[in-house]
């Protein structure tokens, strides 16, 4: 029986060594391969928000470069972070938002982009170059931007609804418009707690424990009237008649409203709300950094950028794309809000140590 014990020990040892070796491998500092413009080094793994990419663009990229693109999707920045922070995910390109970009940069999780491999970086509008969350646009280039607000089925509420976050949080308004059990909130700590903070008249980047506690109470009170916390299907739920008001992103609502039979609207509440920019970034442990650069360059092409906006109805940060974007999209104030609306909007910023308080507040509030 001794021999068998030895066997077992050997197997266990090998297994442990294997795991250790595997985990060490992923810690290796990627030296940031030197890529030429248009150079590819294998198939691309793309980790993106759900319902955010035109499948035709993926096909076009595959055809042009002879590589295969694998897409995976996430519903919130936090979920994306949780998955990539372990390392070794095999993803090349991710699309984090503003504040998450700061976090990823400070954690050293995304590469400095090689601008010479992305000649189209000059297409990005000045407004989106050198953003506060990534000074000098060293690590990211803007993908799309938009706002977060409320989508409403006007067929149920009637045409005049108050433009307030109260539609999501206020018991009296819920009573008046019959919204109880017909509300969805984003399953996203910064957005949902941020909306409650705005409703209370605070900044959505508040780092005051008292203000956050108030916001948490507002959400906790609303939970009994909320049908679902959902970051994927909020617009489908409104159009299906399952919810009447939904908290979500401008483009997705517009997209799905086209399908519905009722009258709908999307608005950013008068209290103000979130504007956001998502940037394209390459993970430090990306297996195919050159294909990743080629992909970012491809999406920043003037016509491709326009095709993306014409498809997903989020605003384009690509200055060169404007001439190719459909006029009805450019004229749509939901996609390109007026200056008056823009003035009421805030970017979500990295709150540093306080970041975790937001996620904990939402976790507690939903009970």
């Amino acid at each position: 029986m001794k021999a068998m014990k030895k066997w077992m020990r050997l197997v266990a040892l090998l297994a442990v060594l294997g795991v250790v070796a595997a985990s060490c491998g992923s810690d290796e500092e990627s030296a940031g391969a030197d890529c030429e413009a248009g150079e590819t080094d294998g198939d691309l793994a793309f980790f993106n928000w759900s319902e955010y990419m035109d499948p035709d663009l993926i096909t076009a990229f595959q055809d042009e470069f002879g590589v295969t693109v694998t897409e995976d999707f996430y519903p919130s920045n936090e979920e994306m972070f949780a998955k990539v922070s372990a390392g070794g995910t095999g993803y090349d390109v991710i699309v984090p938002s503003d504040y998450m970009i700061s976090i990823l940069v400070s954690e050293g999780m995304i590469l400095e982009l090689q601008k010479d491999a992305i000649p189209n970086h000059v297409n990005v509008s000045d407004k989106f170059n050198d953003p506060p969350f990534d000074p000098g646009s060293v690590h990211t280039l803007a993908y799309q931007w938009g706002t977060t607000g409320i989508g409403v089925d006007l067929g149920v509420t009637g045409p005049d609804v108050p433009l307030t976050w109260g539609l999501l949080f206020d018991a009296d308004l819920a009573e008046e418009y019959g919204l109880s059990g017909r509300i969805s909130l984003l399953d996203d700590p910064r957005e949902t707690v941020g909306a409650a903070l705005k409703y209370l008249g605070y900044s959505l980047n508040s780092t005051s424990a008292d203000e956050l506690a108030e916001a948490e109470a507002v959400i906790a009170d609303a939970v009994s009237r909320v049908a679902a916390f959902d970051s994927d299907q909020y617009s489908e739920l409104v159009v299906a008649g399952e919810t009447i008001v939904g908290h979500g992103y401008s483009g997705n609502f517009l997209w799905d409203f086209e399908e519905g039979e009722s009258e709908y609207t999307y608005f950013v509440p008068d209290e103000g709300g979130t504007k956001w920019v998502d940037g394209m970034a390459i993970l430090v442990d990306a297996p195919h950094p050159c294909t990743a650069h080629a992909f970012i360059n491809f999406l920043l092409d003037a016509e491709n950028g326009a095709q993306l906006t014409n498809y997903n109805w989020y605003a384009s940060p690509n200055a060169a794309s404007e001439q190719y974007i459909d006029q009805e999209v450019l004229d749509n104030q939901i996609i390109y809000p007026s200056q008056a609306t823009m003035d009421r909007l805030e970017f979500i910023e990295d709150t540093g140590d306080f970041e975790i308080e937001y996620t904990d507040a939402l976790t507690r509030a939903r009970g």
Partner: protein
């Protein structure tokens, strides 16, 4: 359930199972036994390695993570091992979630048992041909993916859904149950019913019906014959089925997320929430470890108590 299979671990001393007199040829006998044991081990090796690599070691990571430190950005780092995560388990919210999960799992298990028992009884008393057809029928749902079937329920249960309209038609008022705990229980019962039917069927089918005849001959009423003969003899199936339904219901994630609207957390969703949204690996791991331990103990106790009849 292979729990009672004769097992022999290394170092048990001289094997006596074969009942041979080892005094006669001790050396040869032992050598043959060893060769046999080695053969068995080699045959089992792939599975042992598999379980070690993909079950034991990951489980070790979960345990290690539960004592780890969470950084300000929400990464989990394996240093400064501490009990903070376990301290959080006493929080009201964790308790609420745990009780709610327990309650839902118990209700789902009981409903499954009540629904499955008559069906299993019926199936096992049919002719072999009919029996096999009905068993295939029970298993047909497994041919399509659980996620897709759960989404299908969402369509049935939504405001314009068939179920909702039927409820309203027969006058049960506002039949809206999507995104309520009733929808979650319905989804659980639907999803795990076959796991209750199959072991029950296996147990009932094995019953020697002459025992029931005997009971009736001794003037037992039908109910009494059931209560004192059939039910005790089918107990192993009841226990196995209950465990197969209770365990996954207790940790359910997909069903509450899709049919319950991702609120009113159950333990499964709470753990996922900790990992993906709250980015709190240590707390998520600690909850997992405790759930695992509780389940293990409960299952052992359950088996022990039913063991006499197994």
């Amino acid at each position: 359930m292979a729990v009672d299979a004769p097992t022999r671990s290394p170092g048990d001393g001289p094997p006596v199972l074969e009942g041979t007199s080892e005094v006669a040829t001790p050396g040869l006998e032992r050598e043959a036994e060893r060769a046999k044991a080695r053969q068995g081990f080699l045959l089992g090796l792939p599975t042992i390695v598999y379980l070690l690599l993909f079950f034991v070691i990951p489980l070790g990571f979960v345990v290690a993570y539960s004592f780890a430190t969470r950084t300000r950005s929400g990464r989990t780092e394996l240093r400064d091992f501490n009990l903070d995560a376990y301290a959080r388990l006493g929080d009201d919210i964790v308790m609420t979630v745990a009780w709610r999960s327990l309650w839902m799992a118990v209700v789902a298990t009981l409903i499954c048992l009540v629904l499955a028992y008559p069906l299993a009884y019926y199936i096992s008393t049919r002719s072999p041909m009919v029996r096999n057809l009905m068993l295939v029928g029970v298993m047909i749902p497994f041919w399509s993916n659980f996620l897709i079937r759960t989404y299908a329920w969402r369509v049935l249960l939504d405001s314009d859904g068939l179920v909702t309209q039927a409820f309203e038609f027969i006058g049960l008022g506002d039949g809206r149950i999507l995104f309520t705990s009733n929808a979650v229980i319905l989804g659980l019962v639907y999803g795990y019913l076959p796991f209750m039917v199959l072991p029950l069927y296996a147990a009932i089918e094995r019953i020697d019906w002459s025992l029931v005849e005997g009971a009736r001959d001794l003037y037992a009423s039908g109910w009494s014959a059931f209560r004192r003969v059939v039910w005790p003899l089918s107990r192993p199936g009841v226990i196995a089925g209950s465990i197969l339904v209770f365990v996954p219901s207790f940790g359910a994630y997909v069903t509450p997320a899709i049919l319950g609207g991702n609120k009113e957390g159950l333990l499964g969703s709470y753990i996922v929430l900790q990992f993906l949204s709250a980015r709190n690996g240590p707390v998520g791991s600690a909850v997992s470890v405790v759930v695992l331990a509780v389940m293990l103990v409960a299952t052992l106790v359950y088996f022990r108590s039913g063991g006499k009849n197994l």
